[in-house]
Symmetry: C2
Protein backbone atom coordinates (compact mmCIF):
# COMPACT_ATOMS: atom_id res chain seq x y z
CA UNK A 1 0.00 0.00 0.00
CA UNK A 2 1.19 3.54 -0.72
CA UNK A 3 0.31 6.94 0.60
CA UNK A 4 0.24 9.71 -2.01
CA UNK A 5 0.40 13.43 -1.31
CA UNK A 6 1.08 16.52 -3.39
CA UNK A 7 -0.50 14.68 -6.29
CA UNK A 8 -2.21 17.82 -7.61
CA UNK A 9 1.21 19.20 -8.57
CA UNK A 10 1.75 18.93 -12.28
CA UNK A 11 -1.59 17.31 -13.06
CA UNK A 12 -2.71 17.94 -16.62
CA UNK A 13 -6.11 19.64 -16.28
CA UNK A 14 -7.13 18.51 -19.73
CA UNK A 15 -6.43 14.90 -18.76
CA UNK A 16 -8.43 15.36 -15.56
CA UNK A 17 -11.39 16.79 -17.48
CA UNK A 18 -11.19 13.87 -19.88
CA UNK A 19 -11.13 11.24 -17.10
CA UNK A 20 -14.04 12.91 -15.31
CA UNK A 21 -15.94 13.10 -18.59
CA UNK A 22 -15.42 9.37 -19.09
CA UNK A 23 -16.68 8.70 -15.56
CA UNK A 24 -19.84 10.70 -16.32
CA UNK A 25 -20.28 8.82 -19.60
CA UNK A 26 -20.13 5.51 -17.72
CA UNK A 27 -22.59 6.92 -15.19
CA UNK A 28 -24.91 7.92 -18.03
CA UNK A 29 -24.72 4.39 -19.43
CA UNK A 30 -25.46 2.86 -16.02
CA UNK A 31 -22.07 1.15 -15.87
CA UNK A 32 -20.91 2.35 -12.45
CA UNK A 33 -21.72 1.31 -8.91
CA UNK A 34 -22.11 4.28 -6.62
CA UNK A 35 -24.28 4.21 -3.49
CA UNK A 36 -25.43 7.75 -2.55
CA UNK A 37 -22.91 9.49 -0.31
CA UNK A 38 -23.68 9.23 3.40
CA UNK A 39 -23.51 12.19 5.78
CA UNK A 40 -22.43 12.07 9.43
CA UNK A 41 -22.98 15.26 11.40
CA UNK A 42 -20.26 16.42 13.81
CA UNK A 43 -20.57 19.25 16.34
CA UNK A 44 -18.84 21.82 14.09
CA UNK A 45 -19.34 20.33 10.64
CA UNK A 46 -19.91 17.01 8.93
CA UNK A 47 -18.17 14.31 6.96
CA UNK A 48 -19.29 12.44 3.91
CA UNK A 49 -18.39 8.93 2.79
CA UNK A 50 -18.38 8.25 -0.94
CA UNK A 51 -17.79 4.69 -2.21
CA UNK A 52 -17.82 3.67 -5.87
CA UNK A 53 -16.62 1.20 -8.48
CA UNK A 54 -15.80 2.26 -12.03
CA UNK A 55 -15.32 -0.89 -14.13
CA UNK A 56 -14.09 0.90 -17.26
CA UNK A 57 -11.17 2.41 -15.32
CA UNK A 58 -10.80 -0.76 -13.19
CA UNK A 59 -10.88 1.30 -10.03
CA UNK A 60 -12.77 0.96 -6.74
CA UNK A 61 -12.60 2.90 -3.52
CA UNK A 62 -13.97 5.45 -1.11
CA UNK A 63 -13.45 9.13 -0.52
CA UNK A 64 -13.91 10.51 2.99
CA UNK A 65 -14.36 14.28 3.04
CA UNK A 66 -15.29 16.77 5.75
CA UNK A 67 -16.91 20.21 5.66
CA UNK A 68 -16.06 22.38 8.70
CA UNK A 69 -16.88 26.03 7.93
CA UNK A 70 -14.94 27.42 10.93
CA UNK A 71 -11.69 25.68 10.01
CA UNK A 72 -10.07 28.69 8.31
CA UNK A 73 -10.02 30.44 11.71
CA UNK A 74 -7.88 27.51 12.92
CA UNK A 75 -5.59 27.67 9.92
CA UNK A 76 -7.12 24.58 8.30
CA UNK A 77 -9.08 24.22 5.05
CA UNK A 78 -12.86 23.97 5.35
CA UNK A 79 -12.79 20.83 3.22
CA UNK A 80 -10.18 18.07 3.55
CA UNK A 81 -10.28 14.65 1.97
CA UNK A 82 -8.69 11.22 1.87
CA UNK A 83 -9.35 8.64 -0.85
CA UNK A 84 -8.74 4.93 -0.25
CA UNK A 85 -8.34 2.83 -3.40
CA UNK A 86 -8.78 -0.93 -3.40
CA UNK A 87 -7.40 -3.49 -5.80
CA UNK A 88 -10.49 -4.56 -7.74
CA UNK A 89 -9.43 -8.20 -8.04
CA UNK A 90 -8.60 -8.80 -4.35
CA UNK A 91 -10.10 -5.88 -2.42
CA UNK A 92 -6.69 -5.12 -0.92
CA UNK A 93 -6.12 -1.45 -0.06
CA UNK A 94 -3.64 -0.21 -2.66
CA UNK A 95 -3.45 3.51 -2.07
CA UNK A 96 -4.39 6.20 0.41
CA UNK A 97 -4.44 9.56 -1.32
CA UNK A 98 -4.47 13.06 0.11
CA UNK A 99 -7.48 14.23 -1.88
CA UNK A 100 -7.97 17.77 -0.54
CA UNK A 101 -6.73 19.57 -3.68
CA UNK A 102 -7.98 16.77 -5.91
CA UNK A 103 -11.50 17.40 -4.58
CA UNK A 104 -11.33 20.97 -5.82
CA UNK A 105 -10.00 19.83 -9.18
CA UNK A 106 -12.52 17.07 -9.82
CA UNK A 107 -15.36 19.46 -9.03
CA UNK A 108 -13.81 21.98 -11.39
CA UNK A 109 -13.63 19.26 -14.01
CA UNK A 110 -17.34 18.45 -13.65
CA UNK A 111 -18.17 22.11 -14.23
CA UNK A 112 -15.87 22.16 -17.24
CA UNK A 113 -17.51 19.08 -18.75
CA UNK A 114 -20.97 20.58 -18.17
CA UNK A 115 -19.90 23.88 -19.76
CA UNK A 116 -18.30 22.08 -22.69
CA UNK A 117 -21.61 20.42 -23.57
CA UNK A 118 -24.15 23.00 -22.37
CA UNK A 119 -22.54 26.40 -22.96
CA UNK A 120 -24.31 28.39 -25.68
CA UNK A 121 -20.92 29.38 -27.17
CA UNK A 122 -17.31 28.23 -27.49
CA UNK A 123 -15.97 31.69 -26.67
CA UNK A 124 -17.60 32.99 -23.52
CA UNK A 125 -18.05 35.74 -21.01
CA UNK A 126 -17.87 33.98 -17.64
CA UNK A 127 -19.67 35.23 -14.55
CA UNK A 128 -18.15 34.16 -11.26
CA UNK A 129 -20.13 34.33 -8.00
CA UNK A 130 -17.87 33.52 -5.07
CA UNK A 131 -14.07 33.60 -5.22
CA UNK A 132 -12.81 30.74 -3.04
CA UNK A 133 -10.71 27.73 -4.00
CA UNK A 134 -13.59 26.17 -5.91
CA UNK A 135 -14.16 29.28 -8.04
CA UNK A 136 -10.51 29.14 -9.08
CA UNK A 137 -10.80 25.43 -9.88
CA UNK A 138 -13.90 26.06 -12.02
CA UNK A 139 -12.19 28.75 -14.06
CA UNK A 140 -8.97 26.78 -14.58
CA UNK A 141 -10.83 23.64 -15.66
CA UNK A 142 -13.32 25.45 -17.89
CA UNK A 143 -10.49 27.32 -19.62
CA UNK A 144 -9.35 23.92 -20.97
CA UNK A 145 -12.66 23.45 -22.78
CA UNK A 146 -13.86 26.93 -23.76
CA UNK A 147 -12.19 30.22 -24.62
CA UNK A 148 -12.88 32.62 -21.74
CA UNK A 149 -12.95 36.08 -23.34
CA UNK A 150 -13.84 37.94 -20.17
CA UNK A 151 -14.58 37.28 -16.48
CA UNK A 152 -16.90 39.29 -14.25
CA UNK A 153 -16.32 38.41 -10.64
CA UNK A 154 -18.40 39.04 -7.54
CA UNK A 155 -17.53 38.31 -3.93
CA UNK A 156 -19.20 39.45 -0.70
CA UNK A 157 -15.78 40.91 0.00
CA UNK A 158 -14.56 43.24 -2.77
CA UNK A 159 -10.92 42.60 -1.83
CA UNK A 160 -11.36 38.89 -2.48
CA UNK A 161 -12.73 39.59 -5.96
CA UNK A 162 -9.76 41.82 -6.77
CA UNK A 163 -7.33 39.22 -5.53
CA UNK A 164 -9.12 36.59 -7.62
CA UNK A 165 -8.59 38.61 -10.79
CA UNK A 166 -4.86 38.90 -10.10
CA UNK A 167 -4.67 35.10 -10.35
CA UNK A 168 -5.92 35.17 -13.93
CA UNK A 169 -3.84 37.87 -15.55
CA UNK A 170 -4.03 36.20 -18.96
CA UNK A 171 -7.82 36.83 -19.02
CA UNK A 172 -9.69 40.10 -18.97
CA UNK A 173 -11.13 40.04 -15.48
CA UNK A 174 -12.96 42.63 -13.44
CA UNK A 175 -14.85 42.94 -10.18
CA UNK A 176 -18.55 43.39 -10.66
CA UNK A 177 -21.81 43.68 -8.81
CA UNK A 178 -23.58 40.31 -8.59
CA UNK A 179 -26.16 41.51 -11.09
CA UNK A 180 -23.44 42.48 -13.58
CA UNK A 181 -21.61 39.17 -13.15
CA UNK A 182 -24.80 37.30 -14.03
CA UNK A 183 -24.94 39.03 -17.43
CA UNK A 184 -22.76 36.41 -19.10
CA UNK A 185 -22.71 33.20 -21.16
CA UNK A 186 -21.56 30.81 -18.45
CA UNK A 187 -22.24 31.63 -14.81
CA UNK A 188 -20.59 29.68 -12.02
CA UNK A 189 -21.75 29.92 -8.41
CA UNK A 190 -19.52 28.48 -5.69
CA UNK A 191 -20.72 29.97 -2.41
CA UNK A 192 -21.88 28.11 0.73
CA UNK A 193 -25.09 30.19 0.72
CA UNK A 194 -28.34 29.14 2.36
CA UNK A 195 -30.26 31.97 0.66
CA UNK A 196 -30.53 32.57 -3.10
CA UNK A 197 -27.85 35.01 -4.24
CA UNK A 198 -28.71 35.04 -7.95
CA UNK A 199 -32.01 36.77 -8.75
CA UNK A 200 -34.22 35.51 -11.53
CA UNK A 201 -34.30 38.84 -13.38
CA UNK A 202 -30.48 38.98 -13.61
CA UNK A 203 -30.25 35.84 -15.75
CA UNK A 204 -30.91 36.30 -19.46
CA UNK A 205 -31.92 33.69 -21.99
CA UNK A 206 -29.22 31.41 -23.32
CA UNK A 207 -27.13 31.41 -20.14
CA UNK A 208 -25.58 28.22 -18.83
CA UNK A 209 -25.19 28.08 -15.03
CA UNK A 210 -22.90 25.77 -13.11
CA UNK A 211 -24.48 25.69 -9.65
CA UNK A 212 -21.66 24.25 -7.58
CA UNK A 213 -22.02 25.58 -4.04
CA UNK A 214 -25.09 23.71 -2.81
CA UNK A 215 -23.87 20.30 -1.65
CA UNK A 216 -25.85 19.72 1.54
CA UNK A 217 -29.47 19.97 2.64
CA UNK A 218 -30.52 23.60 3.21
CA UNK A 219 -28.01 25.14 0.80
CA UNK A 220 -29.09 27.10 -2.31
CA UNK A 221 -27.65 29.86 -4.49
CA UNK A 222 -30.24 30.44 -7.24
CA UNK A 223 -33.67 32.04 -7.12
CA UNK A 224 -35.95 28.98 -7.62
CA UNK A 225 -37.71 30.91 -10.40
CA UNK A 226 -34.55 30.40 -12.49
CA UNK A 227 -34.93 26.63 -12.15
CA UNK A 228 -38.55 26.87 -13.31
CA UNK A 229 -37.61 28.41 -16.65
CA UNK A 230 -34.37 26.45 -17.10
CA UNK A 231 -33.47 22.91 -18.16
CA UNK A 232 -31.90 21.55 -14.99
CA UNK A 233 -29.29 18.82 -15.35
CA UNK A 234 -27.84 17.11 -12.27
CA UNK A 235 -24.81 14.94 -11.63
CA UNK A 236 -26.83 12.30 -9.80
CA UNK A 237 -30.56 12.41 -9.20
CA UNK A 238 -30.61 10.92 -5.70
CA UNK A 239 -27.80 13.16 -4.46
CA UNK A 240 -29.16 16.30 -6.12
CA UNK A 241 -32.62 15.82 -4.64
CA UNK A 242 -31.05 15.28 -1.22
CA UNK A 243 -28.39 17.96 -1.17
CA UNK A 244 -28.00 19.81 -4.48
CA UNK A 245 -29.21 23.22 -5.68
CA UNK A 246 -32.69 21.74 -6.16
CA UNK A 247 -32.99 20.36 -2.59
CA UNK A 248 -34.56 23.45 -1.00
CA UNK A 249 -36.93 24.25 -3.90
CA UNK A 250 -38.07 20.61 -3.85
CA UNK A 251 -38.74 20.79 -0.10
CA UNK A 252 -40.69 24.01 -0.66
CA UNK A 253 -42.73 22.55 -3.52
CA UNK A 254 -41.17 24.94 -6.07
CA UNK A 255 -39.44 22.20 -8.06
CA UNK A 256 -40.10 18.49 -8.58
CA UNK A 257 -37.77 15.58 -9.20
CA UNK A 258 -39.74 14.99 -12.40
CA UNK A 259 -38.71 18.47 -13.60
CA UNK A 260 -35.05 17.37 -13.85
CA UNK A 261 -34.05 17.44 -17.53
CA UNK A 262 -31.43 14.72 -17.18
CA UNK A 263 -28.03 13.86 -15.80
CA UNK A 264 -24.68 15.17 -16.98
CA UNK A 265 -23.85 11.58 -17.89
CA UNK A 266 -26.81 11.51 -20.27
CA UNK A 267 -25.60 14.80 -21.75
CA UNK A 268 -22.09 13.45 -22.28
CA UNK A 269 -23.34 10.35 -24.10
CA UNK A 270 -25.63 12.50 -26.27
CA UNK A 271 -28.93 11.27 -24.88
CA UNK A 272 -29.78 14.76 -23.59
CA UNK A 273 -28.65 18.19 -24.75
CA UNK A 274 -29.22 21.95 -24.95
CA UNK A 275 -32.12 22.20 -27.40
CA UNK A 276 -32.09 25.87 -28.48
CA UNK A 277 -29.82 28.93 -28.20
CA UNK A 278 -32.21 30.79 -25.90
CA UNK A 279 -32.55 27.95 -23.43
CA UNK A 280 -31.25 28.51 -19.90
CA UNK A 281 -29.39 25.42 -18.73
CA UNK A 282 -28.35 24.67 -15.17
CA UNK A 283 -25.88 22.02 -14.04
CA UNK A 284 -26.53 21.14 -10.40
CA UNK A 285 -23.30 19.66 -9.03
CA UNK A 286 -23.20 17.74 -5.75
CA UNK A 287 -19.96 15.86 -6.40
CA UNK A 288 -19.79 12.16 -7.23
CA UNK A 289 -17.52 9.46 -5.89
CA UNK A 290 -16.77 8.40 -9.48
CA UNK A 291 -15.18 11.82 -10.09
CA UNK A 292 -12.90 11.17 -7.12
CA UNK A 293 -11.92 7.77 -8.41
CA UNK A 294 -11.28 9.09 -11.92
CA UNK A 295 -8.90 11.77 -10.69
CA UNK A 296 -7.27 9.44 -8.14
CA UNK A 297 -6.29 7.09 -10.94
CA UNK A 298 -4.37 9.91 -12.66
CA UNK A 299 -3.05 11.46 -9.46
CA UNK A 300 -1.12 8.37 -8.43
CA UNK A 301 1.41 9.12 -11.15
CA UNK A 302 2.28 12.47 -9.54
CA UNK A 303 3.47 13.84 -6.20
CA UNK A 304 5.13 11.93 -3.39
CA UNK A 305 4.52 8.25 -2.62
CA UNK A 306 5.30 6.70 0.77
CA UNK A 307 5.28 2.91 0.99
CA UNK A 308 3.23 1.60 3.92
CA UNK A 309 3.33 -1.96 5.28
CA UNK A 310 0.08 -3.83 4.64
CA UNK A 311 -1.38 -6.26 5.52
Amino acid sequence: MKYFTGTDQGLDLRQVNSAVEQAFADHGRGLVQMPPKTYVTLPQGDFRTMPAYLPSLNIAGVKVVNVHPDNPSRGLPTVMAITVLLDVATGKPEAVINATRLTDMRTGAAGAVAAKYLSPKKEIVMGVIGTGRQAQAQVRATAQELAIREMKVWSRNHVHAEKFCTMFRETECRCARAEQACDCDVLVTTTPSRQPIVSDEWVHEGTHINAIGADAPGKEELDPAILSRASVFVDDIVQAVHSGEINVPIKNGLFKEADIAGTLGEVVIGRKKRRRPGEITVFDSTGLAIQDLAIAKIAMHHGTAIVLPFP
Copy 2:
Protein backbone atom coordinates in the same frame (compact mmCIF):
# COMPACT_ATOMS: atom_id res chain seq x y z
CA MET B 1 -1.76 12.24 10.08
CA LYS B 2 -0.33 8.86 11.08
CA TYR B 3 -0.52 5.37 9.64
CA PHE B 4 -0.78 2.59 12.22
CA THR B 5 -0.06 -1.08 11.60
CA GLY B 6 0.54 -4.11 13.81
CA THR B 7 -1.78 -2.49 16.31
CA ASP B 8 -3.33 -5.82 17.29
CA GLN B 9 -0.04 -6.80 18.94
CA GLY B 10 -0.30 -6.52 22.69
CA LEU B 11 -3.89 -5.32 22.75
CA ASP B 12 -5.61 -6.14 26.02
CA LEU B 13 -8.65 -8.22 25.01
CA ARG B 14 -10.47 -7.26 28.18
CA GLN B 15 -10.01 -3.59 27.34
CA VAL B 16 -11.27 -4.23 23.79
CA ASN B 17 -14.36 -6.02 25.10
CA SER B 18 -14.99 -3.13 27.46
CA ALA B 19 -14.69 -0.47 24.73
CA VAL B 20 -16.95 -2.44 22.39
CA GLU B 21 -19.44 -2.89 25.25
CA GLN B 22 -19.46 0.87 25.80
CA ALA B 23 -20.07 1.43 22.09
CA PHE B 24 -23.05 -0.94 22.21
CA ALA B 25 -24.36 0.84 25.32
CA ASP B 26 -24.22 4.17 23.47
CA HIS B 27 -25.95 2.51 20.52
CA GLY B 28 -28.66 1.21 22.86
CA ARG B 29 -29.15 4.73 24.24
CA GLY B 30 -29.38 6.20 20.73
CA LEU B 31 -26.24 8.30 21.24
CA VAL B 32 -24.31 7.29 18.12
CA GLN B 33 -24.51 8.28 14.48
CA MET B 34 -24.08 5.32 12.19
CA PRO B 35 -25.57 5.18 8.68
CA PRO B 36 -26.09 1.55 7.57
CA LYS B 37 -23.00 0.13 5.89
CA THR B 38 -23.02 0.35 2.10
CA TYR B 39 -22.03 -2.54 -0.15
CA VAL B 40 -20.26 -2.25 -3.50
CA THR B 41 -20.03 -5.47 -5.52
CA LEU B 42 -16.79 -6.27 -7.32
CA PRO B 43 -16.25 -9.09 -9.83
CA GLN B 44 -14.70 -11.47 -7.24
CA GLY B 45 -16.06 -10.08 -3.97
CA ASP B 46 -17.32 -6.88 -2.45
CA PHE B 47 -16.35 -4.03 -0.22
CA ARG B 48 -18.28 -2.32 2.53
CA THR B 49 -18.04 1.26 3.77
CA MET B 50 -18.85 1.89 7.42
CA PRO B 51 -18.94 5.47 8.73
CA ALA B 52 -19.83 6.43 12.29
CA TYR B 53 -19.47 9.00 15.08
CA LEU B 54 -19.26 7.98 18.74
CA PRO B 55 -19.59 11.14 20.84
CA SER B 56 -18.80 9.47 24.18
CA LEU B 57 -15.39 8.34 22.88
CA ASN B 58 -14.98 11.55 20.84
CA ILE B 59 -14.19 9.54 17.73
CA ALA B 60 -15.41 9.70 14.14
CA GLY B 61 -14.37 7.82 11.04
CA VAL B 62 -14.92 5.17 8.43
CA LYS B 63 -13.87 1.58 8.00
CA VAL B 64 -13.45 0.21 4.48
CA VAL B 65 -13.44 -3.58 4.38
CA ASN B 66 -13.52 -6.14 1.58
CA VAL B 67 -14.70 -9.74 1.37
CA HIS B 68 -13.02 -11.77 -1.40
CA PRO B 69 -13.55 -15.50 -0.78
CA ASP B 70 -10.89 -16.61 -3.31
CA ASN B 71 -8.11 -14.51 -1.76
CA PRO B 72 -6.52 -17.34 0.25
CA SER B 73 -5.58 -19.03 -3.04
CA ARG B 74 -3.60 -15.85 -3.84
CA GLY B 75 -1.97 -15.76 -0.43
CA LEU B 76 -4.15 -12.90 0.82
CA PRO B 77 -6.74 -12.82 3.60
CA THR B 78 -10.39 -13.01 2.53
CA VAL B 79 -11.12 -9.91 4.60
CA MET B 80 -8.83 -6.87 4.77
CA ALA B 81 -9.64 -3.49 6.25
CA ILE B 82 -8.52 0.09 6.65
CA THR B 83 -10.00 2.55 9.14
CA VAL B 84 -9.73 6.31 8.63
CA LEU B 85 -10.21 8.40 11.77
CA LEU B 86 -11.08 12.09 11.63
CA ASP B 87 -10.51 14.76 14.26
CA VAL B 88 -14.03 15.43 15.51
CA ALA B 89 -13.49 19.18 15.96
CA THR B 90 -12.01 19.91 12.51
CA GLY B 91 -12.75 16.86 10.36
CA LYS B 92 -9.04 16.52 9.58
CA PRO B 93 -7.89 12.95 8.89
CA GLU B 94 -5.85 11.97 11.95
CA ALA B 95 -5.12 8.32 11.46
CA VAL B 96 -5.21 5.56 8.87
CA ILE B 97 -5.22 2.19 10.59
CA ASN B 98 -4.54 -1.27 9.23
CA ALA B 99 -7.73 -2.80 10.59
CA THR B 100 -7.54 -6.35 9.21
CA ARG B 101 -6.74 -8.03 12.54
CA LEU B 102 -8.75 -5.43 14.46
CA THR B 103 -11.82 -6.45 12.46
CA ASP B 104 -11.48 -10.01 13.73
CA MET B 105 -11.00 -8.75 17.29
CA ARG B 106 -13.90 -6.32 17.38
CA THR B 107 -16.23 -9.01 16.06
CA GLY B 108 -14.88 -11.37 18.70
CA ALA B 109 -15.56 -8.69 21.29
CA ALA B 110 -19.19 -8.30 20.17
CA GLY B 111 -19.68 -12.05 20.61
CA ALA B 112 -18.05 -11.88 24.02
CA VAL B 113 -20.31 -9.03 25.13
CA ALA B 114 -23.37 -10.91 23.89
CA ALA B 115 -22.26 -14.09 25.68
CA LYS B 116 -21.49 -12.16 28.87
CA TYR B 117 -25.08 -10.92 29.05
CA LEU B 118 -27.01 -13.76 27.40
CA SER B 119 -25.16 -16.95 28.33
CA PRO B 120 -27.20 -19.19 30.65
CA LYS B 121 -24.09 -19.79 32.83
CA LYS B 122 -20.76 -18.22 33.81
CA GLU B 123 -18.89 -21.51 33.33
CA ILE B 124 -19.70 -22.93 29.93
CA VAL B 125 -19.32 -25.67 27.42
CA MET B 126 -18.69 -23.87 24.14
CA GLY B 127 -19.67 -25.26 20.75
CA VAL B 128 -17.66 -23.97 17.80
CA ILE B 129 -18.92 -24.32 14.22
CA GLY B 130 -16.23 -23.21 11.80
CA THR B 131 -12.55 -22.85 12.71
CA GLY B 132 -11.23 -19.83 10.82
CA ARG B 133 -9.73 -16.61 12.16
CA GLN B 134 -13.10 -15.43 13.42
CA ALA B 135 -13.72 -18.61 15.41
CA GLN B 136 -10.38 -18.06 17.16
CA ALA B 137 -11.26 -14.43 17.86
CA GLN B 138 -14.62 -15.45 19.34
CA VAL B 139 -13.06 -17.96 21.70
CA ARG B 140 -10.27 -15.64 22.84
CA ALA B 141 -12.65 -12.74 23.49
CA THR B 142 -15.32 -14.86 25.20
CA ALA B 143 -12.69 -16.41 27.47
CA GLN B 144 -12.25 -12.93 28.99
CA GLU B 145 -15.88 -12.86 30.10
CA LEU B 146 -16.82 -16.49 30.85
CA ALA B 147 -14.98 -19.59 32.07
CA ILE B 148 -14.81 -22.00 29.12
CA ARG B 149 -14.77 -25.46 30.71
CA GLU B 150 -14.80 -27.38 27.44
CA MET B 151 -14.87 -26.74 23.69
CA LYS B 152 -16.44 -28.95 21.03
CA VAL B 153 -15.27 -27.97 17.60
CA TRP B 154 -16.60 -28.78 14.16
CA SER B 155 -15.13 -27.91 10.79
CA ARG B 156 -15.95 -29.18 7.31
CA ASN B 157 -12.31 -30.24 7.33
CA HIS B 158 -11.40 -32.43 10.30
CA VAL B 159 -7.75 -31.37 10.12
CA HIS B 160 -8.76 -27.73 10.62
CA ALA B 161 -10.70 -28.66 13.75
CA GLU B 162 -7.71 -30.53 15.16
CA LYS B 163 -5.40 -27.63 14.42
CA PHE B 164 -7.87 -25.28 16.08
CA CYS B 165 -7.75 -27.27 19.31
CA THR B 166 -3.95 -27.12 19.38
CA MET B 167 -4.27 -23.31 19.63
CA PHE B 168 -6.18 -23.57 22.90
CA ARG B 169 -4.15 -26.05 24.94
CA GLU B 170 -5.23 -24.45 28.20
CA THR B 171 -8.84 -25.53 27.51
CA GLU B 172 -10.28 -29.00 27.10
CA CYS B 173 -10.99 -29.06 23.39
CA ARG B 174 -12.08 -31.82 21.07
CA CYS B 175 -13.21 -32.29 17.49
CA ALA B 176 -16.87 -33.18 17.22
CA ARG B 177 -19.64 -33.82 14.76
CA ALA B 178 -21.70 -30.67 14.17
CA GLU B 179 -24.57 -32.22 16.09
CA GLN B 180 -22.31 -32.87 19.10
CA ALA B 181 -20.84 -29.38 19.00
CA CYS B 182 -24.33 -27.91 19.22
CA ASP B 183 -24.93 -29.68 22.54
CA CYS B 184 -23.46 -26.85 24.59
CA ASP B 185 -24.18 -23.70 26.60
CA VAL B 186 -22.80 -21.16 24.14
CA LEU B 187 -22.64 -21.99 20.45
CA VAL B 188 -20.73 -19.82 18.02
CA THR B 189 -21.09 -20.13 14.25
CA THR B 190 -18.54 -18.41 12.02
CA THR B 191 -18.89 -19.97 8.58
CA PRO B 192 -19.61 -18.21 5.26
CA SER B 193 -22.48 -20.64 4.64
CA ARG B 194 -25.45 -19.95 2.39
CA GLN B 195 -27.32 -23.01 3.67
CA PRO B 196 -28.28 -23.67 7.29
CA ILE B 197 -25.61 -25.81 8.99
CA VAL B 198 -27.17 -26.01 12.46
CA SER B 199 -30.35 -28.13 12.59
CA ASP B 200 -33.20 -27.17 14.85
CA GLU B 201 -33.26 -30.52 16.68
CA TRP B 202 -29.58 -30.22 17.65
CA VAL B 203 -30.13 -27.10 19.80
CA HIS B 204 -31.48 -27.70 23.29
CA GLU B 205 -33.25 -25.27 25.57
CA GLY B 206 -31.15 -22.71 27.39
CA THR B 207 -28.50 -22.41 24.68
CA HIS B 208 -27.09 -19.05 23.67
CA ILE B 209 -25.98 -18.81 20.04
CA ASN B 210 -23.64 -16.22 18.60
CA ALA B 211 -24.49 -16.27 14.88
CA ILE B 212 -21.51 -14.48 13.41
CA GLY B 213 -20.99 -15.79 9.90
CA ALA B 214 -23.95 -14.27 8.05
CA ASP B 215 -22.95 -10.73 7.12
CA ALA B 216 -24.30 -10.33 3.61
CA PRO B 217 -27.57 -10.97 1.78
CA GLY B 218 -28.05 -14.68 1.08
CA LYS B 219 -25.91 -15.97 3.94
CA GLU B 220 -27.35 -18.08 6.79
CA GLU B 221 -26.07 -20.70 9.22
CA LEU B 222 -29.06 -21.62 11.41
CA ASP B 223 -32.20 -23.58 10.62
CA PRO B 224 -34.87 -20.83 10.62
CA ALA B 225 -36.91 -22.99 13.03
CA ILE B 226 -34.31 -22.15 15.70
CA LEU B 227 -35.05 -18.45 15.25
CA SER B 228 -38.77 -19.12 15.65
CA ARG B 229 -38.33 -20.59 19.14
CA ALA B 230 -35.49 -18.27 20.23
CA SER B 231 -35.24 -14.68 21.41
CA VAL B 232 -33.26 -13.09 18.60
CA PHE B 233 -31.10 -10.08 19.44
CA VAL B 234 -29.28 -8.17 16.70
CA ASP B 235 -26.46 -5.65 16.67
CA ASP B 236 -28.38 -3.23 14.45
CA ILE B 237 -31.87 -3.78 13.12
CA VAL B 238 -31.39 -2.24 9.66
CA GLN B 239 -28.15 -4.13 9.03
CA ALA B 240 -29.44 -7.43 10.42
CA VAL B 241 -32.57 -7.34 8.27
CA HIS B 242 -30.42 -6.56 5.22
CA SER B 243 -27.51 -8.92 5.74
CA GLY B 244 -27.58 -10.75 9.08
CA GLU B 245 -28.60 -14.29 10.03
CA ILE B 246 -32.25 -13.25 9.79
CA ASN B 247 -31.98 -11.85 6.22
CA VAL B 248 -32.84 -15.06 4.36
CA PRO B 249 -35.63 -16.19 6.75
CA ILE B 250 -37.15 -12.68 6.44
CA LYS B 251 -37.05 -12.90 2.64
CA ASN B 252 -38.68 -16.32 2.81
CA GLY B 253 -41.42 -15.15 5.20
CA LEU B 254 -40.11 -17.37 8.04
CA PHE B 255 -39.14 -14.48 10.32
CA LYS B 256 -40.33 -10.89 10.66
CA GLU B 257 -38.51 -7.75 11.70
CA ALA B 258 -41.14 -7.44 14.45
CA ASP B 259 -39.96 -10.79 15.86
CA ILE B 260 -36.58 -9.28 16.83
CA ALA B 261 -36.34 -9.31 20.64
CA GLY B 262 -34.05 -6.27 20.80
CA THR B 263 -30.55 -5.02 20.11
CA LEU B 264 -27.37 -5.93 21.94
CA GLY B 265 -27.17 -2.29 22.98
CA GLU B 266 -30.52 -2.62 24.71
CA VAL B 267 -29.26 -5.76 26.43
CA VAL B 268 -26.10 -4.01 27.64
CA ILE B 269 -28.05 -1.10 29.15
CA GLY B 270 -30.47 -3.53 30.84
CA ARG B 271 -33.53 -2.68 28.80
CA LYS B 272 -33.71 -6.22 27.39
CA LYS B 273 -32.43 -9.54 28.79
CA ARG B 274 -32.58 -13.33 28.91
CA ARG B 275 -35.86 -13.96 30.74
CA ARG B 276 -35.63 -17.61 31.83
CA PRO B 277 -33.01 -20.39 32.03
CA GLY B 278 -34.64 -22.50 29.31
CA GLU B 279 -34.82 -19.66 26.80
CA ILE B 280 -32.79 -20.02 23.61
CA THR B 281 -31.11 -16.71 22.81
CA VAL B 282 -29.46 -15.78 19.51
CA PHE B 283 -27.16 -12.85 18.88
CA ASP B 284 -27.17 -12.01 15.18
CA SER B 285 -23.93 -10.12 14.47
CA THR B 286 -23.41 -8.17 11.25
CA GLY B 287 -20.61 -5.93 12.53
CA LEU B 288 -21.02 -2.25 13.33
CA ALA B 289 -18.86 0.72 12.45
CA ILE B 290 -18.97 1.80 16.11
CA GLN B 291 -17.15 -1.42 17.06
CA ASP B 292 -14.41 -0.47 14.60
CA LEU B 293 -14.11 3.02 16.02
CA ALA B 294 -14.04 1.74 19.60
CA ILE B 295 -11.17 -0.65 18.89
CA ALA B 296 -9.35 1.90 16.71
CA LYS B 297 -9.23 4.31 19.62
CA ILE B 298 -7.38 1.72 21.71
CA ALA B 299 -5.27 0.36 18.87
CA MET B 300 -3.55 3.69 18.22
CA HIS B 301 -1.55 3.18 21.42
CA HIS B 302 0.02 -0.02 20.04
CA GLY B 303 2.00 -1.18 17.03
CA THR B 304 3.96 0.94 14.59
CA ALA B 305 3.08 4.54 13.68
CA ILE B 306 4.33 6.21 10.50
CA VAL B 307 3.92 9.98 10.22
CA LEU B 308 2.38 11.07 6.92
CA PRO B 309 2.33 14.62 5.58
CA PHE B 310 -1.19 16.10 5.49
CA PRO B 311 -2.73 18.34 4.30
